[in-house]
Symmetry: C2
DNA sequence: TAGATCCTTGGAGTGCGCTCCAGGCAAGCG
DNA sequence: CGCTTGCCTGGAGCGCACTCCAAGGATCTA
């Protein structure tokens, strides 16, 4: 049995990525398809993330195949969270560059994360505004439904 | 003075669309560029919405120019809210078709709105999860910043 | 050792939501 | 009358985030 690269990960589980099959640190070596299964991303996307500079250096086997570590999975989990906020990939690449550049970029990372936090708060507020509109419309249609029902009675 | 079609509406106001310049019902006739200014959409986008079936029928002047009404502005406001939820345009078109089809589609509209409401709740929950991750990272960098400061002292 | 499956690469293709262009009509102004 | 500005149309183009392809090498199972 294999994990094909075109698996539609939306249809087989209701919850998010499984994250359950991690190996203990020290013998944490995952192939690309294992990481795909663990994260819900496709292998294509994982290679693409690497090409655009969104990943740290990924280990290779003696024949050149990628071998991901638990640390890489942690990074991908963060990327997944940032992706949910709607942050553009280019901004995540910027953050990845700061991480690669070393400890002297702490302040800049801090600022970037704080700005992102503000964005997330704003988006939550937007969504709650939308929820209010939706609830008004929904109760309108619920009332209309009741009116139709009593008409039929 | 004119409203150009390429105005970047994100840079001139912090709040959302102005929505302030409405004319009273009865003499509510707006040109496409007025609606663009009012909604923050471009005239291009307004025409495109019409082409794909996202708009109701829009009145025309005797020379064929679009004349939007307050009702159209209300619809665009709803569309704007739905867009914030990440709802695909195709789904909004579906909703628009139900509205055009008449009162007998109330039940289906109700279901569609309820499903959208669930999506919005799920997205809010996702964002709050992301916020938690972000806050942990931010406090890590804040601590690191304090450590560096005391080191310098 | 054969055959199936998995992994590699650079580059091309896809779907979405706009975004813009060319060419032309219409209205207001000096 | 000419000039500027705004609006019209169909269709092409763009940016993003993937998504896939072709050709070939690596690894696993019987």
């Amino acid at each position: 049995m294999t994990v094909t690269e075109t698996t539609d990960t939306r249809t087989d589980t209701c919850a998010g990525p499984p994250q359950g099959e991690r190996r203990p640190d020290g013998k944490d070596k995952y192939t690309i398809s294992e990481v795909a299964a663990l994260t819900g991303l496709t292998a294509h996307t994982l290679r693409w993330y690497e090409r655009i500079g969104l990943m740290p250096h990924i280990d290779r086997s003696h024949t050149g195949q990628r071998r991901y570590t638990n640390r890489d999975l942690d990074w991908l989990a963060l990327v997944g969270k940032l992706r949910l906020t709607g942050m553009p990939v280019a901004d995540m690449v910027r953050y990845a560059e700061l991480v690669r550049a070393g400890d002297h970029t702490y302040a800049e990372r801090f600022e970037l994360l704080k700005a992102t936090r503000e964005d997330v708060l704003a988006r939550i507020a937007e969504l709650q505004g939308t929820l209010a509109v939706l609830d008004r419309k929904i109760s309108f249609y619920a009332d209309a439904g009741r009116a139709l029902a009593s008409e039929r009675a």
